[in-house]
């Protein structure tokens, strides 16, 4: 059998299984897709469900905090935060959450996500939105910022990214608000590149706008509380290029502010050329809101 949602028993009798991300047929015992390197466990877990899971992409440049954001989001969901509860599908879905929480609890940031797609951590959760009384199956990979940058600069370098973004039901674009507030144009340009890439990939005509829900999340907003006061106003003032691109090409975009670290300190050493960043304590703010906005529209 060749189908997107082959069940495990069917897979075991020798049929190929199509990758959920890129559609490539894979052997029944494959651990990862031979084409895009996505874990095939996703396909096996999804096969038992009534409907295919929705893909939600968390994108942003390197060091913006994608891993930390996603790790805390998953951990909050699994603790029935807000109107949500979430059930992980498969032990592999818990790895990311565990890595982030164990590091942050010990006042350390998690290790950088490797560029190699076969080493990314993926999370597959069944999320129950209690207020709306609906379940949504979500797959969220933790992609490396360097890989995203490489794919944006040279499309098809990372096929898995292109396939993911093509099939995503919604995206969270994480922007370093602290850097933007400090006058750096880098977050503005990276955000523009990312959305231009999606625009180009979707092939929308000039008179069409992309309606995929896109939440622009202003991260590290603890450094610039103005972002919390009014995220839209902050974006218009500090990320004007991105703001204008959103207005002209994306019909379903909203701005949010978020922060995880309550206070940041530095470990210094006369012998070392660099300082180590130490998250002294956590203070979660604005983590759930963009996710809820996406879920409401998936």
């Amino acid at each position: 059998m060749s189908g997107t949602y082959a069940t495990v028993p069917q897979a075991r009798i020798g049929a190929t299984v199509d990758c959920m991300i890129c559609g490539t047929p894979n052997g029944p015992d494959a651990a990862q897709c031979r084409q895009c390197l996505a874990p095939m466990a996703l396909v096996h877990d999804a096969g038992a469900q009534e409907a295919p899971p929705a893909l939600v992409s968390i994108i942003g440049e390197s060091n913006v905090g994608k891993t930390v954001y996603l790790g805390f989001l998953l951990d909050m969901l699994s603790q029935r935060a807000g109107d949500f509860e979430a059930i992980p599908k498969g032990a592999y879905s818990i790895d990311l959450q565990q890595t982030v929480i164990s590091h942050m609890a010990a006042r350390a940031f998690p290790p950088k996500t490797p560029m190699e797609a076969d080493r990314w951590l993926w999370a597959y959760y069944q999320v129950h939105h209690r207020a709306a009384d609906r379940w949504v199956d979500l797959v969220m990979p933790d992609m490396a910022g360097e890989s995203l940058a490489a794919e944006v600069a040279a499309p098809r370098t990372f096929r898995v990214i292109r396939d993911l973004l093509t099939r995503s039901a919604g995206s969270l674009l994480l922007i370093d608000a602290a850097l933007a507030a400090n006058g750096s144009p880098q977050p503005d340009f990276f955000g523009m590149k990312m959305l231009s890439y999606i625009d180009s990939m979707r092939g929308a005509r000039r008179d069409q706008r992309i309606d995929t829900p896109t939440a622009v999340v202003l991260c590290k907003a603890d450094h610039c509380p103005e972002a919390f006061d009014d995220p839209r106003r902050f974006a218009e003032a500090n990320l004007n290029r991105l703001w204008n691109l959103c207005l002209s090409r994306f019909s379903n975009v909203e701005f949010f502010a978020a922060s995880v670290v309550g206070s940041l300190a530095y470990g210094t050493s006369a012998r070392q050329e660099f300082v180590s960043l130490i998250p002294l304590h956590t203070a979660l703010r604005g983590i759930l809101e963009p996710f809820q906005w996406i879920i409401d529209q998936v």
């Binding site: 807000g82 942050m104 530095y266 470990g267 210094t268 203070a283 979660l284 703010r285």
Partner: protein, 334 residues
């Protein structure tokens, strides 16, 4: 000054309740802001001290003001108010972890703590309003000279002097009895100076929360109520409230002397600089001077970061949504 030695908690611990999970609300938008009405104070300067809650000032200057009409009555009222709003923290020790990796067994320093008085509750928005209305931001005597250039930045959302999240120099009246937040260390320090108090130092705060009194038992508490986390006794992230609550809530989480909310609701500024080292013994520093804050807040995610012994710091000029303060007073009334 007659002060009750120990307040007795009269009520039974709150029964275990199902964890509450509510979505964190967004800050009130400008159109939903309900500014507090101005308070009209008496013309009598001595009685005005009482109305402003500046009992410490009255006690500190009572003798110097002898002979003023009504001073004895005012001093009695101030003493009674302090007796009602402060509790004695007995002599004891605070074991301060010295490394940022504060795991059990890490290096600690035992700091002896003399008995002192600690406010039962953090300072509220309504109390801080009296300081703002009295021109506290314009009274340079209350502020260290090196901070004077920064005072102009201590504005609310509308550019008026006041805590970061106020509007037009007024607090939201619905939050009147919530702890004041959006104030930096220097604003907290200016308030307590104005009112005749001081901020507790880090060891004093820890002594009050860990209750490591001088005794042969040599025990300390992880939380003011005991050693086990109980989210019905404090407002941290796991409590599911997602915002500040009035300062008198969580009575069951009080220390043995009745001091409430040492754990959770808001972090509390202390008078101490934040000073720890990393695993290699190198100093841990911030972008600017960091002061020690204690106790955790409503959005503190890890329960281990909201305990009586957890040390952390924050830039002294930071005006965040989750840091407030409470007052302390020496036994002699200073």
């Amino acid at each position: 000054m007659p002060i009750s030695l120990f307040r007795r908690k009269t009520e039974e611990p709150a029964p275990a309740a199902a964890p509450r999970r509510r979505p964190a609300p967004r800050p009130p938008a400008a159109e939903s802001y309900e500014p507090a009405e101005p308070v009209t104070l008496t013309d009598d300067p001595l009685r005005r001290f009482l109305e402003q809650g500046r009992y410490g000032i009255v006690l500190a200057h009572g003798e110097a003001w002898a002979g003023q009409p009504g001073i004895e009555e005012v001093c009695r009222a101030a003493t009674a108010a302090i007796d009602d709003r402060f509790a004695l923290v007995p002599e004891g020790f605070a074991a301060l972890p010295q490394t940022v990796d504060d795991h059990p067994g890490c290096p600690e320093i035992d700091v002896p703590v003399e008995p002192f008085l600690l406010a039962l509750d953090p300072v509220t928005h309504a109390e801080f309003q009296l300081f703002v209305d009295a021109g506290g931001y314009q009274n340079l005597e209350l502020w260290p000279e090196d901070i004077w250039p920064h005072i102009i930045d201590f504005r609310d959302l509308t550019g008026r002097p006041g805590p970061r999240y106020w509007r037009e120099g007024r607090h939201d009246r619905r939050l009147a009895d919530h702890p004041v937040v959006g104030v930096c260390f220097y604003e907290a320090q200016a308030y307590v100076r104005w009112a005749g108090y001081r901020l507790p130092d880090e060891a004093e705060w820890q002594m009050a929360a860990s209750w490591r009194i001088r005794s042969s038992a040599n025990t300390l508490r992880r939380y003011p109520w005991g050693d086990a986390l109980d989210t019905t006794r404090c407002n941290i992230w796991a409590s599911g409230v997602g915002r500040t609550v009035p300062v008198t809530e969580y009575e069951s989480g009080a220390a043995p002397n009745g001091v409430r909310q040492l754990i959770g609701n808001v972090w509390e500024w202390t008078a101490s600089d934040f000073s720890v080292v990393d695993a290699e013994g190198n100093p841990v520093v911030g972008d600017m001077l960091m002061k020690s804050i204690r106790g955790g807040a409503f959005d503190t995610y890890f329960p281990a970061q909201a305990t009586s012994c957890f040390r952390t710091g924050l830039a002294a000029l930071a005006r965040t949504h989750n840091v407030g303060f409470r007052a302390a007073l020496d036994l002699g009334g200073r």
